[in-house]
């Protein structure tokens, strides 16, 4: 759905393209064996190569190449069997080599496609231009001292995948949904943790505006280093409005790089085209061109995990779940895995309901993620089996579930301990029904004279006297028969 900005001179639409830097999930860096663990003591994960000591040379980490190919396959992209590493030259204190090893004209992954499900049910196809591998830079810390800046090189040399979309996005909402989908895909693939807060997925947004219906592209501005989906959307919205204001006031948009200020909610100039770096890209002479075989690619393809779109289709087609429920269940790989574990031997719709409503409800309240759930998939499955074989009713099950969530105990243990087994013995229930009816002759009379609602009263009384354990269906049947 296109976002429209109502300007003074008419309606404007947005054109958005995103460049995402996704940290490759690996044990070591792209060209050195240093650890990539987050949160280490400053400069404790820096090899001689990472620090660009004299005479040091890069050596490719093949696993990172695999991860890039895996990601490319996960977005249905073309894999380039031959790609080249180029040096991107510029000076900054957190860039020890004075250049970043990246890929410029021959990236490892070519064009691909991501399908995004919008909340209103519509589907948007977002084209991917390319993915390439590159080194991350270190971190500069400017706020520790008035006289000095500190440099932490732990991050220097970590492998990044730069994923570039085509300018296919038309609203900040689409951009947000795209990011969520992309994050979901890379987490499914295990190629990136997608944790924007930890900085292992960052986004630059290219934004331009044009009159609604126009097919020409306006001048774009790049907003760098957006570190949350919310900020991506806020930045896009602000920038689009700003551009419309400038143009309508008679000005022109300067192609420039801008930063988003999270406190003011505004974008501001970082550097203009004149100050733009000339990166003097050239193929890195310390590295040979990267040549991978079709066999290498096919191997990775054969071992790809099932991706969200595939799972969603399966849930809808084979399990009869609604697109909404299916969508919720596939959004996180951990959730889908949990669901698939529970659904074995249980009714899919019932399972879906228990996971999305009962489990999620309690998890959200306790601020826990699915990985931190006190109730394991096996345990929830156990609970659902007890409902299925009529050991307990659905209502009792919710009670049991609360206790499971608090104690971590299995369902059958709790049912035993609490004596919650559902009573299905018709004889025993009939005895209670007869007792209730005998105790309430006036109510029976009222019911028989037309107060239908009192049926619920009788049901309630029977359930109360049986401590909720009476099988509701049996109770209903018996009351119906006796109150005829």
């Amino acid at each position: 759905m296109t976002q429209i900005i109502k300007g003074n001179t008419g309606d404007w639409e947005l054109v958005i393209g995103l460049e995402i830097h996704a940290q490759v999930n690996s044990n070591s860096k792209l060209f050195s064996g240093s650890s990539v663990k987050f949160g280490g003591e400053p400069n404790s994960q820096v090899s001689l190569v990472d620090a660009a000591m004299p005479g040091m040379l890069p050596v490719i980490n093949e696993f990172c190449v695999e991860q890039a190919v895996r990601t490319g396959l996960g977005i249905n992209a073309a894999i380039n069997l031959r790609s080249v590493f180029d040096r991107k030259n510029y000076f900054y204190a957190d860039l020890p080599q004075g250049y970043q090893i990246s890929q410029y004209s021959d990236p490892i992954v070519g064009e691909g496609l991501v399908v995004v499900d919008m909340p209103d049910g519509a589907q948007r196809e977002v084209g991917i231009e390319r993915i390439h591998l590159e080194q991350d830079a270190g971190k500069s810390i400017h706020d520790q001292s008035p006289e000095h800046s500190y440099i932490d090189l732990n991050r220097s040399g970590i492998a990044l995948m730069e994923i570039v979309t085509k300018p296919d996005l038309r609203s900040s909402e689409e951009a947000g949904e795209f990011m969520k989908k992309l994050r979901s895909i890379v987490r499914y693939l295990g190629t990136c943790d997608g944790d924007m807060e930890k900085g292992n997925m960052r986004c630059d947004a290219n934004v331009s505006v044009r009159k609604k219906g126009s097919s020409e592209l306006g001048t774009r501005c790049e907003i760098k280093n957006l570190n949350s989906i919310r900020n991506i959307q806020l930045a896009i919205n602000y920038e689009a409005d700003r551009q419309v204001d400038v143009i309508e006031a008679g000005g022109t948009i300067d192609q420039e790089t801008r930063l988003f200020d999270t406190t003011t909610g505004e974008t501001r100039t970082m550097r203009s085209k004149e100050d733009a770096h000339d990166y003097r890209y050239f193929p890195d002479p310390d590295l040979l061109p990267l040549e991978i075989t079709q066999e290498f690619v096919d191997n990775i393809k054969a071992n790809l995990p099932e991706l969200p779109d595939q799972k969603k289709a399966k849930y809808i087609d084979e399990m009869g779940l609604s697109p909404y429920d299916a969508g919720v269940l596939v959004s996180e790989k951990a959730v889908a895995q949990y669901f698939e574990e529970v659904v074995k031997g249980n009714d899919p719709k019932m399972t879906a309901n228990w996971v999305t409503a009962e489990l999620f409800g309690r998890l959200n309240k306790a601020s826990k993620s699915i990985d931190e759930s006190p109730v394991s998939a096996k345990q929830l499955s156990g609970l659902l089996s007890l409902i299925k074989d009529n050991t307990i009713s659905g209502k009792i099950a919710k009670q049991v579930f609360d206790i499971m969530f608090e104690s971590g105990k299995d369902a059958d243990v709790i049912v035993e301990e609490q004596g919650l087994k559902q009573v299905t013995d018709t004889g025993a229930i009939e005895k209670i029904v007869d007792e209730v009816l005998a105790a309430n002759p006036d109510k029976i009379a009222e019911y028989k004279s037309g107060k239908d609602k009192l049926f619920g009263f009788f049901v309630g009384q029977v359930m109360k006297q049986s401590q909720g354990k009476a099988n509701p269906q049996v109770v209903n049947q018996l009351l119906k028969d006796k109150l005829k």
Binding site: A52, N89, Y281
Partner: protein
Amino acid sequence: MTKLTDLSVTAALIGLENKEFSAVDLAKETLKEIENKKDLNAFSVDTSDFAIKQAAQSDKKRADGKAGVIEGIPVGVKDLFCTKGFSSTACSKILNGFTPTYESTVTTNLFAAGGIMIGKTNMDEFAMGSGNLNSSNGIVKNPWTRKDDNKVLVPGGSSGGSSAAIAARLCQGALGTDTGGSIRQPASFTGITGIKPTYGRCSRYGMIAFASSLDQAGVFARSSKDCALLLEAIAGYDKKDSTSINKPVDNYISMITGDVKGKKIGIPKEYQSDKMQGEVNDYWQKAAKFFEELGAETIEISLPNTKYALPVYYIIAPAEASSNLARYDGVRYGHRAELPSGASLDDMYELTRSEGFGDEVKRRIMIGTYVLSAGYYDAYYKKAQKVRTLIANDFKQAFSKVDFVLTPTAPTSAFAVDEKMDPVTMYLNDVFTVPASLAGLPAMSLPVGLDKQNMPLGMQLIAPAFEEGKLLNAAFALEQAIGFNHKPGEVQ
């Protein structure tokens, strides 16, 4: 009684094996000789204590029957190699105070083979120069002097220190590096033998980078056989260098028979130049004749793109250098300028690099930056890489017809230290050596005679990739035939 330091590598190994003297004896003599001739300024870092320790260990190793291929031989190590615990500055102020905590692969191999690091040798800063005039440690004197004047002459560059040390018989072997001729040209200027192997034959790990696609480690000695032993010691595949080639190192010494019968020697017509000193051409023809007398055949060949080699080199090498030298920024090691308060990061870069780099280095960084810059990349760098392929193809074509190519090494004999030469004229020193560098081929220089001023002249032999053994054999054959046995300082 021959001075120990006058012995060749081969003779010294025999002496050591026969217990005529120990490695410690040899090292001590060598250090004495180095001290005697310290006015040459061939050495820039003192490693004498370490050398004696290594020599003692070497004697023990030999006694245990575990002698390496150059066990106990004192070797000068060009200061471009990072040597653990010893100053490694590439003779540049910008690396003042830098002592690596790591060892280059080449020196690791050298030590494993029994080589003794007798000292680190002087060089042109960052290997950029043809006369060792650009060193932060001062100039190196060529041990040779002209007949008619007493001018101080250059030993050549950039491996001037290593070259002078061998020529002055300060040590038996020396390591050098060659990017556009930095082993071959000094070998020619100082009357000794020097070899640059195939690109990828020796590891570049720990070798301070100048031009990544051209740099190669190599060796100096006073004979082809000595070079064979030294080269075998340092060569080999290294997975820490992605451009290192995984091919086994041949036992070069066993391939030196002196037999070149039936071999075809190519004489490239494009190397004829009127800018050559007269005697250079004479010796070139003489060398060709010697080969014929040895049973080889000389054939005129054409390397049509030769004339582009020098400009191509002086685009590609500076371009790579401008990027390789970006890391010398005062942030993590080496020199950092004293900064006024309120200085910015850019100020730190500018002051540090202005103070730390010499003029020639700055010149090449600027050229390199220019040829890679937006708007010029296609016309210069990209074009140069294309022409480089043509130059390499010229050799490929030639080697389908001949086994070796014979050319002069340098257009002249050693020039004077105070000779006013503009930078471009200085670059012309490399005109015969850069083509083999661009093509990544093994090439060596050996002395063939003296000019009218009694200054040595060298000839260059080039072979196909990874044919170092055959190359050393051909050089040996010529060397035997010529019988060059002149020494600097002889009375004529």
